[in-house]
Protein backbone atom coordinates (compact mmCIF):
# COMPACT_ATOMS: atom_id res chain seq x y z
CA UNK A 1 0.00 0.00 0.00
CA UNK A 2 1.56 3.34 -0.99
CA UNK A 3 2.01 5.67 1.98
CA UNK A 4 -0.83 8.13 2.28
CA UNK A 5 -0.35 11.74 3.19
CA UNK A 6 -1.98 13.03 6.30
CA UNK A 7 -3.30 16.50 6.98
CA UNK A 8 -4.04 18.36 10.21
CA UNK A 9 -7.55 17.84 11.59
CA UNK A 10 -10.25 20.41 10.85
CA UNK A 11 -10.27 22.52 14.04
CA UNK A 12 -14.07 22.77 13.91
CA UNK A 13 -14.39 19.17 15.01
CA UNK A 14 -11.67 19.22 17.66
CA UNK A 15 -12.65 20.04 21.24
CA UNK A 16 -9.06 20.56 22.39
CA UNK A 17 -8.19 20.38 26.06
CA UNK A 18 -8.40 18.05 29.04
CA UNK A 19 -11.77 16.49 29.78
CA UNK A 20 -13.17 14.05 32.33
CA UNK A 21 -15.12 11.95 29.90
CA UNK A 22 -16.53 8.48 29.36
CA UNK A 23 -15.47 6.15 26.58
CA UNK A 24 -18.69 6.57 24.61
CA UNK A 25 -18.33 10.34 24.48
CA UNK A 26 -14.65 10.01 23.63
CA UNK A 27 -15.59 7.87 20.61
CA UNK A 28 -17.81 10.68 19.31
CA UNK A 29 -15.07 13.25 19.90
CA UNK A 30 -12.52 11.06 18.12
CA UNK A 31 -14.86 10.66 15.16
CA UNK A 32 -15.45 14.41 14.94
CA UNK A 33 -11.72 15.09 15.19
CA UNK A 34 -11.08 12.57 12.41
CA UNK A 35 -13.46 14.50 10.14
CA UNK A 36 -16.56 12.34 10.44
CA UNK A 37 -19.54 14.49 9.48
CA UNK A 38 -22.28 11.91 8.99
CA UNK A 39 -23.67 9.62 11.67
CA UNK A 40 -26.72 7.43 11.18
CA UNK A 41 -27.71 5.41 14.19
CA UNK A 42 -30.31 3.75 16.31
CA UNK A 43 -30.06 4.02 20.09
CA UNK A 44 -29.05 0.94 22.04
CA UNK A 45 -27.56 0.52 25.50
CA UNK A 46 -24.67 0.83 26.25
CA UNK A 47 -23.69 2.80 23.15
CA UNK A 48 -26.31 5.55 23.00
CA UNK A 49 -24.12 8.21 24.62
CA UNK A 50 -21.89 8.25 21.54
CA UNK A 51 -24.85 9.06 19.30
CA UNK A 52 -26.08 11.68 21.78
CA UNK A 53 -22.71 13.39 21.88
CA UNK A 54 -22.36 13.37 18.11
CA UNK A 55 -25.89 14.73 17.65
CA UNK A 56 -25.30 17.46 20.21
CA UNK A 57 -22.07 18.58 18.57
CA UNK A 58 -23.35 18.41 14.98
CA UNK A 59 -24.83 21.90 14.63
CA UNK A 60 -21.57 23.59 15.67
CA UNK A 61 -19.38 21.32 13.58
CA UNK A 62 -21.50 21.24 10.46
CA UNK A 63 -22.26 17.54 10.44
CA UNK A 64 -25.40 15.53 10.00
CA UNK A 65 -26.93 13.10 12.47
CA UNK A 66 -29.89 10.93 11.52
CA UNK A 67 -31.72 8.65 13.89
CA UNK A 68 -32.78 5.85 11.57
CA UNK A 69 -35.64 3.39 12.00
CA UNK A 70 -33.29 0.54 12.93
CA UNK A 71 -29.73 -0.69 12.70
CA UNK A 72 -30.15 -2.16 9.21
CA UNK A 73 -31.07 1.25 7.88
CA UNK A 74 -28.34 2.92 9.94
CA UNK A 75 -25.58 0.80 8.44
CA UNK A 76 -27.00 1.13 4.94
CA UNK A 77 -27.20 4.92 5.28
CA UNK A 78 -23.48 4.89 6.01
CA UNK A 79 -22.76 3.40 2.61
CA UNK A 80 -24.81 6.14 0.98
CA UNK A 81 -23.10 8.78 3.12
CA UNK A 82 -19.64 7.49 2.26
CA UNK A 83 -20.32 7.47 -1.50
CA UNK A 84 -21.87 10.91 -1.03
CA UNK A 85 -18.40 12.02 0.01
CA UNK A 86 -18.47 11.96 3.81
CA UNK A 87 -16.54 10.15 6.49
CA UNK A 88 -19.26 8.15 8.24
CA UNK A 89 -19.87 6.31 11.47
CA UNK A 90 -22.41 4.51 13.57
CA UNK A 91 -22.35 2.95 17.00
CA UNK A 92 -24.28 0.01 18.39
CA UNK A 93 -24.21 -3.03 20.65
CA UNK A 94 -24.70 -6.77 20.08
CA UNK A 95 -28.31 -6.94 18.84
CA UNK A 96 -27.77 -3.95 16.56
CA UNK A 97 -24.43 -5.32 15.38
CA UNK A 98 -26.25 -8.50 14.32
CA UNK A 99 -28.70 -6.47 12.26
CA UNK A 100 -25.86 -4.63 10.55
CA UNK A 101 -24.12 -7.76 9.36
CA UNK A 102 -25.66 -7.92 5.90
CA UNK A 103 -24.68 -4.34 5.18
CA UNK A 104 -21.19 -4.92 6.52
CA UNK A 105 -20.75 -7.48 3.74
CA UNK A 106 -22.01 -4.92 1.24
CA UNK A 107 -19.53 -2.37 2.60
CA UNK A 108 -16.72 -4.93 2.40
CA UNK A 109 -17.37 -5.86 -1.22
CA UNK A 110 -18.05 -2.28 -2.36
CA UNK A 111 -14.88 -1.27 -0.46
CA UNK A 112 -16.72 1.50 1.33
CA UNK A 113 -14.81 3.22 4.12
CA UNK A 114 -16.90 3.36 7.28
CA UNK A 115 -16.47 3.02 11.03
CA UNK A 116 -18.74 1.06 13.36
CA UNK A 117 -18.24 1.01 17.11
CA UNK A 118 -19.68 -1.96 18.99
CA UNK A 119 -19.97 -1.18 22.70
CA UNK A 120 -20.26 -4.81 23.73
CA UNK A 121 -22.77 -6.08 26.27
CA UNK A 122 -23.68 -9.59 27.37
CA UNK A 123 -25.42 -11.78 24.78
CA UNK A 124 -26.66 -13.78 23.00
CA UNK A 125 -29.72 -11.89 21.79
CA UNK A 126 -30.78 -8.99 24.02
CA UNK A 127 -28.79 -10.66 26.80
CA UNK A 128 -27.55 -8.20 29.40
CA UNK A 129 -28.26 -4.69 28.12
CA UNK A 130 -26.42 -2.80 30.83
CA UNK A 131 -23.58 -5.20 31.60
CA UNK A 132 -20.20 -5.68 30.00
CA UNK A 133 -18.90 -8.41 27.66
CA UNK A 134 -16.43 -9.15 24.88
CA UNK A 135 -18.62 -11.68 23.14
CA UNK A 136 -18.73 -10.16 19.65
CA UNK A 137 -15.07 -10.58 18.76
CA UNK A 138 -15.60 -13.40 16.30
CA UNK A 139 -18.80 -11.84 14.98
CA UNK A 140 -16.73 -8.80 14.00
CA UNK A 141 -14.50 -11.06 11.96
CA UNK A 142 -16.97 -13.54 10.49
CA UNK A 143 -20.43 -12.05 10.98
CA UNK A 144 -21.37 -11.37 7.38
CA UNK A 145 -21.48 -14.14 4.80
CA UNK A 146 -18.79 -14.75 2.24
CA UNK A 147 -15.04 -14.23 2.41
CA UNK A 148 -13.75 -10.77 3.18
CA UNK A 149 -11.54 -8.92 5.61
CA UNK A 150 -12.21 -6.10 8.03
CA UNK A 151 -10.07 -4.26 10.58
CA UNK A 152 -11.02 -4.22 14.28
CA UNK A 153 -9.45 -2.20 17.11
CA UNK A 154 -10.04 -2.50 20.86
CA UNK A 155 -9.55 0.43 23.25
CA UNK A 156 -8.85 -0.07 26.96
CA UNK A 157 -9.69 3.43 28.19
CA UNK A 158 -11.66 6.55 27.29
CA UNK A 159 -8.42 8.14 26.06
CA UNK A 160 -7.86 5.22 23.73
CA UNK A 161 -11.49 5.44 22.54
CA UNK A 162 -10.62 8.90 21.29
CA UNK A 163 -7.26 7.91 19.83
CA UNK A 164 -8.48 4.74 18.14
CA UNK A 165 -11.54 6.43 16.67
CA UNK A 166 -9.13 8.63 14.70
CA UNK A 167 -7.03 5.63 13.75
CA UNK A 168 -10.15 3.72 12.67
CA UNK A 169 -11.11 6.49 10.25
CA UNK A 170 -7.57 6.72 8.91
CA UNK A 171 -7.38 2.97 8.30
CA UNK A 172 -10.82 2.90 6.70
CA UNK A 173 -9.69 5.57 4.21
CA UNK A 174 -6.34 3.95 3.45
CA UNK A 175 -7.79 0.49 2.81
CA UNK A 176 -11.39 1.40 1.82
CA UNK A 177 -12.62 -1.09 4.38
CA UNK A 178 -15.11 -1.22 7.26
CA UNK A 179 -13.27 -0.68 10.55
CA UNK A 180 -14.75 -1.73 13.86
CA UNK A 181 -14.04 -0.35 17.31
CA UNK A 182 -14.82 -3.28 19.60
CA UNK A 183 -15.16 -1.61 22.96
CA UNK A 184 -17.34 -2.72 25.86
CA UNK A 185 -19.81 -1.38 28.42
CA UNK A 186 -17.13 -0.91 31.08
CA UNK A 187 -14.84 1.24 28.97
CA UNK A 188 -17.85 2.91 27.32
CA UNK A 189 -19.25 4.13 30.62
CA UNK A 190 -15.99 4.61 32.52
CA UNK A 191 -14.93 8.21 33.09
CA UNK A 192 -11.27 9.15 32.98
CA UNK A 193 -9.18 12.05 31.83
CA UNK A 194 -9.18 12.41 28.05
CA UNK A 195 -6.73 14.83 26.49
CA UNK A 196 -7.77 16.09 23.08
CA UNK A 197 -4.77 17.66 21.33
CA UNK A 198 -4.80 20.81 19.22
CA UNK A 199 -6.15 20.25 15.72
CA UNK A 200 -2.74 20.68 14.06
CA UNK A 201 -1.32 17.84 16.17
CA UNK A 202 -4.00 15.40 15.00
CA UNK A 203 -3.09 13.73 11.71
CA UNK A 204 -5.96 12.56 9.58
CA UNK A 205 -6.00 10.69 6.28
CA UNK A 206 -8.18 12.44 3.76
CA UNK A 207 -10.15 10.53 1.19
CA UNK A 208 -8.18 9.73 -1.93
CA UNK A 209 -10.23 11.60 -4.54
CA UNK A 210 -10.12 10.65 -8.18
CA UNK A 211 -8.44 13.39 -10.24
CA UNK A 212 -8.79 12.01 -13.77
CA UNK A 213 -11.17 12.89 -16.58
CA UNK A 214 -14.88 12.13 -16.35
CA UNK A 215 -15.94 9.03 -18.19
CA UNK A 216 -12.77 7.16 -17.27
CA UNK A 217 -13.36 6.64 -13.56
CA UNK A 218 -13.05 3.08 -12.28
CA UNK A 219 -14.27 2.55 -8.69
CA UNK A 220 -12.19 -0.61 -8.22
CA UNK A 221 -8.82 -2.07 -8.93
CA UNK A 222 -8.16 -5.64 -7.89
CA UNK A 223 -4.45 -5.56 -7.14
CA UNK A 224 -4.58 -7.07 -3.65
CA UNK A 225 -2.21 -4.31 -2.55
CA UNK A 226 -3.93 -0.98 -2.95
CA UNK A 227 -7.36 0.49 -3.64
CA UNK A 228 -8.83 2.79 -6.28
CA UNK A 229 -9.54 6.44 -5.50
CA UNK A 230 -13.14 7.45 -4.84
CA UNK A 231 -15.56 10.01 -6.24
CA UNK A 232 -18.70 11.63 -4.89
CA UNK A 233 -22.04 10.46 -6.21
CA UNK A 234 -23.57 13.31 -8.17
CA UNK A 235 -20.28 14.76 -9.43
CA UNK A 236 -20.95 13.48 -12.94
CA UNK A 237 -18.93 10.27 -12.98
CA UNK A 238 -20.59 7.16 -14.35
CA UNK A 239 -20.03 4.15 -12.18
CA UNK A 240 -21.95 1.40 -10.50
CA UNK A 241 -22.00 0.10 -6.93
CA UNK A 242 -23.47 -3.32 -6.27
CA UNK A 243 -23.21 -6.22 -3.87
CA UNK A 244 -22.95 -8.55 -6.86
CA UNK A 245 -19.53 -9.71 -7.92
CA UNK A 246 -18.32 -6.85 -10.11
CA UNK A 247 -15.66 -5.71 -12.51
CA UNK A 248 -13.46 -2.62 -12.23
CA UNK A 249 -16.29 -0.38 -13.44
CA UNK A 250 -18.52 -1.84 -10.72
CA UNK A 251 -20.82 -3.65 -13.14
CA UNK A 252 -21.99 -7.18 -12.30
CA UNK A 253 -19.58 -9.82 -13.62
CA UNK A 254 -21.03 -13.08 -12.44
CA UNK A 255 -18.29 -15.57 -13.10
CA UNK A 256 -16.15 -17.79 -10.94
CA UNK A 257 -13.01 -16.09 -12.27
CA UNK A 258 -14.21 -12.61 -11.34
CA UNK A 259 -15.36 -13.73 -7.91
CA UNK A 260 -11.91 -15.15 -7.30
CA UNK A 261 -10.34 -11.87 -8.39
CA UNK A 262 -12.58 -9.71 -6.17
CA UNK A 263 -12.42 -11.89 -3.08
CA UNK A 264 -8.64 -12.34 -3.28
CA UNK A 265 -8.29 -8.59 -3.52
CA UNK A 266 -10.55 -7.94 -0.48
CA UNK A 267 -8.45 -10.35 1.55
CA UNK A 268 -5.00 -9.57 0.26
CA UNK A 269 -5.29 -5.80 0.54
CA UNK A 270 -5.49 -6.36 4.31
CA UNK A 271 -3.30 -9.46 4.69
CA UNK A 272 -0.44 -8.09 2.60
CA UNK A 273 -0.43 -4.94 4.75
CA UNK A 274 -1.15 -6.67 8.07
CA UNK A 275 2.22 -5.85 9.59
CA UNK A 276 1.68 -2.12 9.14
CA UNK A 277 -1.91 -2.30 10.40
CA UNK A 278 -1.35 -4.41 13.53
CA UNK A 279 -0.61 -2.70 16.83
CA UNK A 280 0.05 -4.49 20.10
CA UNK A 281 1.47 -3.36 23.43
CA UNK A 282 4.11 -5.53 25.12
CA UNK A 283 5.53 -5.59 28.61
CA UNK A 284 8.11 -8.01 29.98
CA UNK A 285 7.81 -10.51 27.12
CA UNK A 286 11.57 -11.09 26.90
CA UNK A 287 12.50 -14.06 29.08
CA UNK A 288 8.91 -14.64 30.23
CA UNK A 289 7.67 -18.16 30.99
CA UNK A 290 4.04 -17.18 30.72
CA UNK A 291 2.50 -14.46 28.61
CA UNK A 292 -0.96 -13.08 29.37
CA UNK A 293 -2.67 -12.05 26.16
CA UNK A 294 -5.73 -9.86 26.52
CA UNK A 295 -7.47 -6.83 25.10
CA UNK A 296 -9.83 -4.03 26.09
CA UNK A 297 -11.01 -3.82 29.68
CA UNK A 298 -9.75 -7.33 30.44
CA UNK A 299 -6.15 -6.24 29.90
CA UNK A 300 -6.55 -3.78 32.76
CA UNK A 301 -8.01 -6.44 35.03
CA UNK A 302 -5.21 -8.83 34.08
CA UNK A 303 -2.55 -6.31 35.12
CA UNK A 304 -3.44 -6.85 38.77
CA UNK A 305 -2.99 -10.61 38.39
CA UNK A 306 0.29 -10.12 36.52
CA UNK A 307 1.64 -7.81 39.23
CA UNK A 308 0.84 -10.35 41.93
CA UNK A 309 2.37 -13.16 39.91
CA UNK A 310 5.55 -11.15 39.38
CA UNK A 311 5.73 -10.36 43.09
CA UNK A 312 5.58 -14.10 43.70
CA UNK A 313 8.62 -14.48 41.46
CA UNK A 314 6.98 -15.71 38.27
CA UNK A 315 8.25 -14.48 34.93
CA UNK A 316 5.11 -13.14 33.32
CA UNK A 317 4.85 -11.03 30.19
CA UNK A 318 1.92 -9.05 28.89
CA UNK A 319 0.70 -8.79 25.34
CA UNK A 320 -2.21 -6.42 24.80
CA UNK A 321 -3.95 -6.49 21.46
CA UNK A 322 -4.90 -3.05 20.20
CA UNK A 323 -5.61 -4.38 16.72
CA UNK A 324 -7.50 -7.67 17.01
CA UNK A 325 -8.28 -8.09 13.29
CA UNK A 326 -6.11 -8.70 11.38
CA UNK A 327 -4.74 -10.98 14.09
CA UNK A 328 -1.06 -10.80 15.08
CA UNK A 329 -0.25 -14.26 13.72
CA UNK A 330 3.47 -13.71 13.27
CA UNK A 331 3.90 -12.43 16.81
CA UNK A 332 2.08 -15.43 18.31
CA UNK A 333 4.03 -17.93 16.18
CA UNK A 334 7.33 -16.43 17.41
CA UNK A 335 6.15 -16.18 20.99
CA UNK A 336 4.81 -19.73 21.16
CA UNK A 337 8.29 -21.09 20.45
CA UNK A 338 9.75 -19.20 23.41
CA UNK A 339 7.27 -19.46 26.30
CA UNK A 340 5.71 -22.25 28.35
CA UNK A 341 2.19 -20.94 28.04
CA UNK A 342 -0.02 -18.16 26.79
CA UNK A 343 -2.92 -17.34 29.12
CA UNK A 344 -5.92 -15.70 27.46
CA UNK A 345 -8.56 -14.12 29.71
CA UNK A 346 -11.53 -12.65 27.86
CA UNK A 347 -15.15 -11.86 28.75
CA UNK A 348 -16.61 -14.57 26.54
CA UNK A 349 -16.58 -18.34 26.38
CA UNK A 350 -13.26 -18.33 24.54
CA UNK A 351 -13.04 -16.53 21.20
CA UNK A 352 -9.68 -14.89 20.49
CA UNK A 353 -8.08 -17.82 22.29
CA UNK A 354 -8.98 -19.91 19.24
CA UNK A 355 -6.77 -17.69 17.10
CA UNK A 356 -3.99 -17.95 19.67
CA UNK A 357 -4.27 -21.76 19.60
CA UNK A 358 -4.24 -21.79 15.82
CA UNK A 359 -1.09 -19.68 15.60
CA UNK A 360 0.68 -21.34 18.54
CA UNK A 361 0.11 -24.62 16.69
CA UNK A 362 1.02 -26.79 19.67
CA UNK A 363 4.35 -25.08 20.38
CA UNK A 364 3.18 -24.01 23.86
CA UNK A 365 0.21 -24.43 26.17
CA UNK A 366 -2.67 -22.06 25.46
CA UNK A 367 -4.94 -21.49 28.47
CA UNK A 368 -8.38 -19.99 28.08
CA UNK A 369 -9.60 -18.08 31.13
CA UNK A 370 -13.10 -17.73 29.83
CA UNK A 371 -15.78 -15.88 31.68
CA UNK A 372 -19.12 -15.09 30.11
CA UNK A 373 -20.70 -11.67 30.06
CA UNK A 374 -21.91 -9.43 32.85
CA UNK A 375 -18.75 -8.54 34.74
CA UNK A 376 -15.01 -8.32 34.47
CA UNK A 377 -12.86 -11.21 35.75
CA UNK A 378 -11.91 -11.67 39.34
CA UNK A 379 -8.14 -11.02 39.07
CA UNK A 380 -7.55 -13.99 41.40
CA UNK A 381 -8.92 -16.33 38.74
CA UNK A 382 -6.43 -15.00 36.21
CA UNK A 383 -3.66 -15.27 38.80
CA UNK A 384 -4.53 -18.91 39.47
CA UNK A 385 -4.40 -19.62 35.73
CA UNK A 386 -0.97 -17.96 35.48
CA UNK A 387 0.34 -19.98 38.43
CA UNK A 388 -0.98 -23.21 36.98
CA UNK A 389 0.42 -22.42 33.53
CA UNK A 390 3.86 -21.62 34.97
CA UNK A 391 4.24 -25.11 36.49
Amino acid sequence: MPARNTVAADPKGVDSGAHFMDGDHALAEGALAAGCRFFAGYPITPSTETAERFAERCPAVGGLFIQMEDEIASATALIGGAWGGQKVMTVTSGPGFSLMMETIGLAATTETPLVIADVQRGGPSTGLPTLTAQQDMMQARWGSHGDYRIIALVPDSPQECFDLAIEAFNLSEIYRVPVFIMTDETVGHMHEKVVIPEAEEIRVVERNWYQGPKGEYRPYRFTGRDVAPMVKAGDGHRFHITGLTHDERGYPALTAEQNDKVVRHLIEKIDSNAESIIRVEEDGIEGADVVVLSYGITSRIAIRAVQEARQAGLKVGVLRLITVWPFCEKKIRELAGKVKAIVVPEINYGQMVLEVERCAAGQCKVVSVNHCGGAVHDPEVILAAIQEAAK
Binding site: M190, H191, R304
Partner: protein, 192 residues
Amino acid sequence: MWEIKFSGFGGQGIVRCALITGKAISLYDGKFATMTQSFGPEARGGACQSQLIISETRIAYPYCTVPGVLVALSQEAYDKYEPGLGDGGILIYEEDLVKPSGDPQRVRRYALPATRFAEELGNRLFANLVTLGCFSAITGAVTAEAMKKALPGLVPDRFLKKNIQAFDKGYEHGLALRDAVPAEPATAGAAQ
Protein backbone atom coordinates in the same frame (compact mmCIF):
# COMPACT_ATOMS: atom_id res chain seq x y z
CA MET B 1 -4.55 5.46 46.63
CA TRP B 2 -8.19 5.99 47.54
CA GLU B 3 -11.10 3.70 46.83
CA ILE B 4 -14.34 5.62 47.29
CA LYS B 5 -17.95 4.60 46.96
CA PHE B 6 -20.79 7.14 46.78
CA SER B 7 -24.22 5.63 47.35
CA GLY B 8 -27.85 6.58 47.80
CA PHE B 9 -30.99 6.31 45.75
CA GLY B 10 -31.29 7.27 42.10
CA GLY B 11 -31.91 11.00 41.71
CA GLN B 12 -29.85 12.17 44.70
CA GLY B 13 -26.93 13.11 42.48
CA ILE B 14 -24.79 10.13 43.46
CA VAL B 15 -23.23 9.74 40.03
CA ARG B 16 -22.71 13.50 39.85
CA CYS B 17 -20.75 13.36 43.14
CA ALA B 18 -18.22 10.99 41.63
CA LEU B 19 -18.12 12.91 38.35
CA ILE B 20 -17.34 16.21 40.06
CA THR B 21 -14.70 14.64 42.30
CA GLY B 22 -13.13 12.69 39.43
CA LYS B 23 -12.95 15.79 37.26
CA ALA B 24 -11.46 17.82 40.13
CA ILE B 25 -8.81 15.18 40.80
CA SER B 26 -7.78 14.49 37.24
CA LEU B 27 -7.96 17.98 35.77
CA TYR B 28 -7.05 20.22 38.70
CA ASP B 29 -5.30 18.17 41.39
CA GLY B 30 -2.86 16.48 39.02
CA LYS B 31 -3.70 12.88 39.96
CA PHE B 32 -5.34 9.98 38.18
CA ALA B 33 -9.03 9.20 38.65
CA THR B 34 -11.22 6.45 37.27
CA MET B 35 -14.96 6.60 37.82
CA THR B 36 -17.52 3.86 37.27
CA GLN B 37 -21.19 3.86 38.16
CA SER B 38 -24.35 1.84 38.41
CA PHE B 39 -26.09 2.03 35.13
CA GLY B 40 -29.57 1.31 33.84
CA PRO B 41 -32.61 0.58 36.01
CA GLU B 42 -30.53 0.40 39.20
CA ALA B 43 -29.33 3.99 38.69
CA ARG B 44 -32.92 5.23 38.43
CA GLY B 45 -34.29 4.52 41.90
CA GLY B 46 -33.30 1.92 44.45
CA ALA B 47 -29.73 1.69 45.69
CA CYS B 48 -27.48 3.56 43.29
CA GLN B 49 -23.73 3.78 43.58
CA SER B 50 -20.73 5.26 41.87
CA GLN B 51 -17.12 4.34 42.45
CA LEU B 52 -14.04 6.46 42.24
CA ILE B 53 -10.41 5.37 42.34
CA ILE B 54 -7.84 8.07 42.98
CA SER B 55 -4.14 7.38 42.50
CA GLU B 56 -0.79 9.08 42.01
CA THR B 57 -0.08 6.60 39.22
CA ARG B 58 -2.01 5.27 36.24
CA ILE B 59 -4.99 3.15 37.31
CA ALA B 60 -5.42 -0.33 35.87
CA TYR B 61 -8.19 -2.06 37.83
CA PRO B 62 -11.12 0.36 37.62
CA TYR B 63 -13.26 -0.78 40.55
CA CYS B 64 -13.10 -0.60 44.33
CA THR B 65 -11.79 -3.79 45.90
CA VAL B 66 -12.21 -2.73 49.52
CA PRO B 67 -13.53 0.85 49.67
CA GLY B 68 -11.80 3.06 52.22
CA VAL B 69 -14.58 5.65 52.05
CA LEU B 70 -18.32 5.11 51.85
CA VAL B 71 -20.76 7.97 51.41
CA ALA B 72 -24.29 6.71 52.12
CA LEU B 73 -27.28 8.97 51.48
CA SER B 74 -30.02 6.34 51.93
CA GLN B 75 -30.76 3.50 54.31
CA GLU B 76 -30.92 0.95 51.50
CA ALA B 77 -27.53 2.03 50.21
CA TYR B 78 -26.08 1.94 53.72
CA ASP B 79 -27.45 -1.56 54.36
CA LYS B 80 -26.14 -2.78 51.03
CA TYR B 81 -22.67 -1.23 50.99
CA GLU B 82 -21.61 -0.69 54.63
CA PRO B 83 -20.53 -4.30 55.12
CA GLY B 84 -18.11 -3.86 52.22
CA LEU B 85 -16.43 -0.79 53.71
CA GLY B 86 -12.93 -1.63 54.91
CA ASP B 87 -12.18 -1.84 58.63
CA GLY B 88 -11.22 1.59 59.92
CA GLY B 89 -12.69 3.16 56.79
CA ILE B 90 -14.54 6.45 56.63
CA LEU B 91 -18.35 6.40 56.61
CA ILE B 92 -20.14 9.64 55.84
CA TYR B 93 -23.91 9.25 56.13
CA GLU B 94 -27.04 11.35 55.77
CA GLU B 95 -28.07 11.48 59.41
CA ASP B 96 -31.79 12.11 58.75
CA LEU B 97 -32.08 9.25 56.25
CA VAL B 98 -29.71 6.61 57.59
CA LYS B 99 -29.72 4.84 60.93
CA PRO B 100 -26.35 3.09 61.14
CA SER B 101 -26.70 -0.41 62.50
CA GLY B 102 -23.23 -1.90 62.15
CA ASP B 103 -20.46 -2.10 64.74
CA PRO B 104 -19.77 1.56 65.70
CA GLN B 105 -16.11 0.74 66.42
CA ARG B 106 -15.41 -0.88 63.07
CA VAL B 107 -15.39 2.25 60.92
CA ARG B 108 -15.06 6.00 61.48
CA ARG B 109 -18.56 7.42 61.28
CA TYR B 110 -19.42 10.98 60.35
CA ALA B 111 -23.06 12.14 60.46
CA LEU B 112 -24.14 14.84 58.05
CA PRO B 113 -27.61 16.45 57.74
CA ALA B 114 -27.03 17.00 54.01
CA THR B 115 -30.67 17.32 52.98
CA ARG B 116 -31.51 19.67 55.84
CA PHE B 117 -28.54 21.91 55.03
CA ALA B 118 -29.56 21.89 51.37
CA GLU B 119 -33.13 22.84 52.20
CA GLU B 120 -31.81 25.74 54.26
CA LEU B 121 -30.10 26.90 51.07
CA GLY B 122 -33.39 26.70 49.21
CA ASN B 123 -33.46 23.29 47.55
CA ARG B 124 -32.79 19.72 48.61
CA LEU B 125 -31.11 19.15 45.24
CA PHE B 126 -28.00 20.80 46.68
CA ALA B 127 -27.59 17.92 49.15
CA ASN B 128 -24.98 16.25 46.97
CA LEU B 129 -22.78 19.35 46.99
CA VAL B 130 -23.17 19.63 50.77
CA THR B 131 -22.04 16.02 50.89
CA LEU B 132 -19.06 16.66 48.63
CA GLY B 133 -17.96 19.57 50.83
CA CYS B 134 -18.10 17.36 53.88
CA PHE B 135 -16.35 14.52 52.04
CA SER B 136 -13.52 16.80 50.89
CA ALA B 137 -12.94 18.20 54.39
CA ILE B 138 -12.96 14.85 56.14
CA THR B 139 -10.90 12.83 53.69
CA GLY B 140 -8.56 15.44 52.26
CA ALA B 141 -8.56 13.27 49.13
CA VAL B 142 -9.28 16.29 46.96
CA THR B 143 -8.74 20.02 47.43
CA ALA B 144 -11.67 22.40 47.83
CA GLU B 145 -10.22 24.64 45.10
CA ALA B 146 -10.17 21.79 42.59
CA MET B 147 -13.73 20.82 43.47
CA LYS B 148 -15.02 24.34 42.90
CA LYS B 149 -13.14 24.60 39.63
CA ALA B 150 -14.75 21.33 38.51
CA LEU B 151 -18.33 22.55 38.98
CA PRO B 152 -18.91 24.59 35.77
CA GLY B 153 -20.37 22.27 33.18
CA LEU B 154 -21.47 19.75 35.82
CA VAL B 155 -24.04 21.92 37.56
CA PRO B 156 -26.41 24.36 35.81
CA ASP B 157 -24.77 27.78 35.37
CA ARG B 158 -27.61 29.58 37.13
CA PHE B 159 -27.13 27.45 40.24
CA LEU B 160 -23.33 27.60 40.32
CA LYS B 161 -23.23 30.06 43.22
CA LYS B 162 -25.76 28.08 45.24
CA ASN B 163 -23.82 24.90 44.66
CA ILE B 164 -20.61 26.54 45.84
CA GLN B 165 -22.46 27.75 48.95
CA ALA B 166 -23.69 24.22 49.52
CA PHE B 167 -20.16 22.87 49.12
CA ASP B 168 -18.81 25.42 51.62
CA LYS B 169 -21.53 24.59 54.11
CA GLY B 170 -20.67 20.92 53.92
CA TYR B 171 -16.95 21.66 54.03
CA GLU B 172 -17.30 23.70 57.22
CA HIS B 173 -19.35 20.93 58.83
CA GLY B 174 -16.80 18.38 57.68
CA LEU B 175 -13.88 20.27 59.19
CA ALA B 176 -15.73 20.46 62.51
CA LEU B 177 -16.47 16.75 62.42
CA ARG B 178 -12.93 15.89 61.46
CA ASP B 179 -11.48 17.90 64.31
CA ALA B 180 -14.04 16.65 66.83
CA VAL B 181 -13.58 12.96 66.19
CA PRO B 182 -10.09 11.90 67.17
CA ALA B 183 -8.38 10.07 64.34
CA GLU B 184 -8.18 6.42 65.20
CA PRO B 185 -5.06 4.44 64.57
CA ALA B 186 -7.02 2.40 62.03
CA THR B 187 -5.61 1.24 58.76
CA ALA B 188 -8.12 2.01 56.04
CA GLY B 189 -8.97 5.29 54.39
CA ALA B 190 -5.89 6.59 52.69
CA ALA B 191 -3.58 3.65 52.99
CA GLN B 192 -4.66 0.67 50.98
